[in-house]
């Protein structure tokens, strides 16, 4: 031990190395704790600006595909309007953003940096505080959910993707109201895992999974994916379900940001005394 200490004191290079390594280790650990990674994120002026200008070029490569997605969505919305309340997807909370009496306010944004290859994926969008985007707003596309905003700067915001092992989202079966939490094991960008579904739930392959009403971030009933396979846990009480996402997370461009106007009220109700 004495020798090690002597060695470190004698050697300024090793000392610097240890210092810098400790700093980066600290930053890493901080980034593993939800809502703490304040300094190191891509939603700042410099990286946001660079990503935006790079995206200005690369977005042209997927224009055709994005157009198809938009037309498809228009088609769904048109069908909904023409068929009145008979439509199958009235529960999807694509609430009219013009009416301010609604519970949700919807804004659009564009993804300027998309990651899905690591185990901790984040996305960057081109809207920030100056467009009234704040932390804990939900991000969805016309097909399903994308993630939750976890850091904002003036002009940009960072989204904690559902393809992040830190992400935990309340979800339920569409057919019944059994809720569970949606996580990701870091393996495939097409499959996420829904855990803690009670063994009494009627789980069948191909069933749809939607967001649950328990969180104040997403409205109830936003589509997530469909059941690919499921196993009963070792304890025998809950199912772990592999969910195939509706969204192609590798090809995202236009997204909607959902603000729940009642969040404050809900939070106040839930923690009435402390804080």
């Amino acid at each position: 031990m004495q020798q090690i200490i002597n060695f470190v004191i004698r050697n300024k290079t090793s000392l610097l190395f240890l210092l810098l390594f400790a700093i980066s280790l600290g930053l890493t650990i901080q980034s593993h704790t939800y809502h703490k990674s304040k300094f190191i994120n891509s939603a700042n002026f410099l990286t946001g600006g660079i990503y935006e200008s790079a995206n200005g070029v690369s977005e042209y490569f997927s224009l055709k595909k994005q157009n198809e997605i938009l037309v498809e969505e228009n088609n769904i919305l048109r069908t909904q309007i023409l068929n009145g309340s008979d439509s199958a997807i009235t529960t999807t909370a694509l609430v009219d953003s013009v009416s301010y009496n609604g519970r949700y306010k919807i804004r659009t944004a564009k993804i300027i940096n998309n990651n899905y290859a690591s185990t901790k994926n984040h996305l960057t969008i081109n809207k920030g505080e100056k467009d009234s985007i704040q932390e804990d707003f939900g991000v969805i596309t016309s097909k399903g959910i994308v993630g939750i905003i976890d850091n904002t700067s003036n002009g940009y915001a960072r989204v904690l993707s559902i393809l992040n092992t830190k992400s935990k989202i309340n979800a339920q079966l569409k057919a019944s109201t059994h809720i569970g939490s949606l996580e990701w094991n870091g393996k495939s960008s097409e499959l996420v895992q829904l855990t803690d579904i009670s063994k009494f739930a009627p789980v069948r392959e191909g069933d749809t999974i939607v967001t649950g009403g328990q969180s104040s971030i997403f409205p109830q009933g936003i589509p997530i994916g469909k059941i690919n396979s499921f196993v009963l846990d070792v304890s025998g009480d809950t199912y772990t379900i592999e969910v195939a996402l509706f969204n192609d997370m590798t090809n995202l461009s236009h997204v909607y940001i959902i603000e729940n106007l009642d969040t404050e009220e809900i939070k106040q109700l839930e923690n009435p005394i402390d804080e």
């Binding site: 290079t13 980066s24 930053l27 790079a54």
Partner: protein, 168 residues
């Protein structure tokens, strides 16, 4: 001397931008990405101030962390690689390094590949260990390290061959 500094600064900026905008989005076979930005550390002039070198490597990693939202993962890996580089140099090049007169363009190809691969594997292993940060996924760490290392090594050798200015 001045052109060496200029060259290093240029490399620093270009490699960060190339990594952030191009190489981070390759996603070969779904999730394999190369990290050729560590060429900056690999090819940094040898007879130089070590303290400065370690600090620059830290900054390189930190910038990349900001771009790819990864906390301090790249910074930690870069600092580690920068710190152990002299030992690896000695191992890979032997006598030439002892004379402090090494020029990467003039070294033998085999030695250079050994030197590259040791540094790349150490860098990737540190990085993925910290990124995944979970001992139960250790297989995933090794798997990612292996595949990414092969990819990075290929790219690094190609880039260093392409951009080497042969001035015999």
């Amino acid at each position: 001397m001045n052109s060496v500094n200029l060259n290093s600064i240029l490399r620093f900026v270009v490699l960060i931008l190339a990594q952030a905008l191009v190489f981070n989005h390759i996603n070969f076979m779904g999730s394999i990405n190369p990290y050729p930005y560590i060429l900056f550390i690999i090819l940094f002039p040898v007879n130089n101030n070590r303290t400065l070198f370690i600090f620059l490597s830290f900054m390189l990693g930190l910038f990349l962390d900001i771009f790819s939202d990864s906390g301090g993962v790249h910074a930690a890996a870069c600092v580690t690689v920068a710190f152990i580089r002299p030992a690896v140099l000695k191992f890979a090049f032997g006598m030439i390094y002892e004379h402090q007169s090494i020029k990467f363009n003039n070294t033998e190809f085999g030695n250079r590949v050994i030197y590259f691969s040791i540094l790349i594997v150490i860098h990737h292993l540190t990085m993925f260990l910290l990124e995944i940060f979970n001992m139960s996924n250790i297989i995933l760490v090794f798997q990612k390290t292996l595949f990414s290392s092969i990819f990075t090594l290929t790219l690094c050798v190609l880039i260093s061959v392409l951009f080497s200015n042969k001035q015999q």
